[in-house]
């Protein structure tokens, strides 16, 4: 599996949300994308998943040029994402929701097989107690898990999680970190995580990309990034950066 972005630029009415982004995501790795608010992280995810079409640049997935593809085509080819702001879940039970992924994703299954696949995934992710619970009675933690389970059911080669841990308490964050790691280990899926919670990024990601004002300003191991002057400057401001340097 190979996912490569070349010079990706997304503009909104004259403003560059993402400028000339170059990046390649290693197979089976967990890569983090961080940056202050407005740095273009979600926009980048939206472009890579086909939700937006870039003004410039190219996205290549497994040697196929997927630039400008529709979201559903991108999803069917194996790149699945979750949304930053919680979107309404389909009215129905948890198992019905998770099965959606299997019904329509890559290598989609028939109705019956989809349900059994969904069962397996829910078991793996610790959702067994909630299977027949109605989707509008879930807690935030449960909802986010269901969203991820649903995405996993779509058999992604690349899973993009957009600020999926926002709103979780520290214990839940730790739980999610463990869960995401085991997802990768069990399924060999490449994971891209957009996150604000630095502790999670540090323990989860093997590689981190830093965005600021739509441009990539740093890339490397988490330990390197945390000590990178430019990154500190961007988060804390130049004055403070001089102090901590």
């Amino acid at each position: 599996m190979s996912l490569v972005c070349q010079n990706v630029t997304k503009r909104f009415g004259g403003l560059n949300a993402v400028s000339g982004f170059d990046g390649s995501f290693a197979a089976g790795a967990i890569t983090g994308i961080i940056g202050p608010n407005g740095s273009g992280k979600s926009v980048l995810i939206n472009v890579m998943s086909g939700y937006y079409k870039p003004e410039e640049g190219k996205i290549t997935f497994d040697q196929k040029d997927i630039t400008g593809w529709n979201s559903h085509s991108v999803a069917k080819s194996g790149i699945v994402r979750t949304f930053q702001h919680m979107r309404p879940l389909m009215k129905g039970t948890v198992i019905e929701n998770v099965a959606l992924g299997a019904l329509f994703g890559r290598d989609s299954s028939s109705a019956k097989t989809a349900i059994s696949e969904a069962h397996r995934i829910c078991e793996e992710m610790g959702l067994t107690g909630l299977l027949s619970k109605s989707s509008d009675t879930l807690t935030t933690y449960e909802r986010k898990k269901v969203e991820i389970a649903r995405a996993v059911a779509a058999k992604p080669r690349v899973l993009m999680l957009d600020e999926v841990m926002a709103g979780l308490n520290p214990a839940e964050v730790q739980d999610f970190v463990k869960m995401i790691k085991s997802l990768r280990d069990n399924r060999k899926v490449t994971i891209i995580v957009v996150e604000h919670i630095l502790s999670a990024v540090m323990s989860l990601c093997e590689r981190v990309i830093v965005l600021f004002n739509g441009k990539k300003i740093a890339e490397g191991l988490p330990q390197e990034i945390v000590q990178d002057m430019r990154v500190i400057e961007v988060y804390l401001g130049r004055g403070l950066a001089n102090v901590t340097g």
């Binding site: 979201s71 559903h72 999803a75 069917k76 994402r81 949304f83 979107r87 009215k91 329509f104 994703g105």
Partner: protein, 301 residues
């Protein structure tokens, strides 16, 4: 469930409860067809259509023209339905926009179709109203045929419910972007839903025309036919299987009552009722039961 429905309604005419009741129940079945049709795209899919009158009207008018041109009744009805379904192609571009645009577009599709049909008649110098030959079939055999179609459509929706199509529509209704991110081609499924809805509504229109014996544009294209399924769906419960059935039953009775007591104010009363109901119980009667059940379960614990 469908089985017992069919049996009840199949036995019904044998009770020979009189012509009036026969006609009333026949109408009920027709209402049920248009309610369940609307439910496919509007209820499950959340794409509210306000202008199903266009499909109803085109199906009816086309069938009438065909019957008058000596095409067999059943072929005419089917072709009428297909012509109504062809209107889907006009609506496809609308699917790129949000659902509320779609709703309004359906409304104007209705108006546009009526204007078109009336205008064409004037231009080609043919009479606007099409009268069907008398005595094509007895009320009873017509009743059974309509019952058969109703059952067919109920079966169709039941099959659809278990199929990908309605699952996709339900996902689209909840959140289109999420649905797309899972691989659902929203535009495709919305089009399929629209096609099915327009086909079955068109067939209903054709059946109606056969039932009353003539096709009059200001009748079959009237806004009422777009309001009725909306009303039935909302009252009964959108997006459920049984909802439209209950809605149709309530509506059939209510309409009779309204026409008898308030006459010309019927549509007005329906509109007022619609507004009141959609504001007070937007999920319909079916869900009132669900709410009671949930409240009871809660108090039991």
């Amino acid at each position: 469930m469908i089985l017992c429905f069919s049996v009840v309604f199949a036995v019904f005419p044998l009770l020979s409860l009189g012509d009036y009741l026969l006609r009333a129940v026949t109408l009920f079945l027709l209402y049920l067809i248009i309610a369940q049709s609307w439910n496919i795209l509007g209820g499950y899919g959340g794409q509210i259509s306000l202008g199903n009158s266009s499909f109803f009207g085109i199906g009816g008018y086309a069938a009438a023209l065909l019957i008058v041109s000596r095409v067999s009744i059943w072929a005419s009805i089917l072709i009428g339905g297909l012509i109504a379904a062809a209107l889907t192609f006009f609506m496809i571009p609308a699917f790129r926009l949000r659902a509320s645009y779609f709703a309004i577009l359906t409304l104007f599709l209705g108006a546009a179709m009526q204007a078109l049909v009336t205008q064409l008649a004037v231009t080609t110098n043919t009479p606007v109203t099409v009268y069907l030959p008398m005595g094509m079939m007895s009320s009873i055999s017509l009743y059974y045929w309509i019952l058969a179609v109703t059952v067919l459509i109920l079966v169709l929706v039941m099959i659809l419910e278990r199929s990908k199509i309605i699952s996709a529509l339900r996902a689209i209704k909840a959140d289109e972007d999420s649905a797309e991110s899972l691989g659902i081609n929203a535009a495709l499924y919305k089009t399929i839903g629209l096609f099915l809805m327009s086909l079955t509504t068109g067939i209903a229109g054709a059946l109606y025309v056969v039932f009353i014996g003539f096709a009059e544009p200001s009748d079959i294209f009237a806004v009422e036919w777009g309001v009725y399924p909306l009303f039935m769906g909302i009252v009964g419960g959108i997006g459920t299987y049984v909802g439209p059935i209950i809605g149709a039953a309530i509506f059939a009775i209510a309409l009779q009552w309204l026409v008898a007591f308030v006459g010309t104010f019927s549509l007005l009363s329906l509109a007022v009722l619609l507004v009141v109901i959609v504001l007070t119980m937007p999920n319909g009667i079916i869900n009132i039961f669900a709410m009671f059940k949930a409240a009871r379960d809660k108090s039991k614990r």
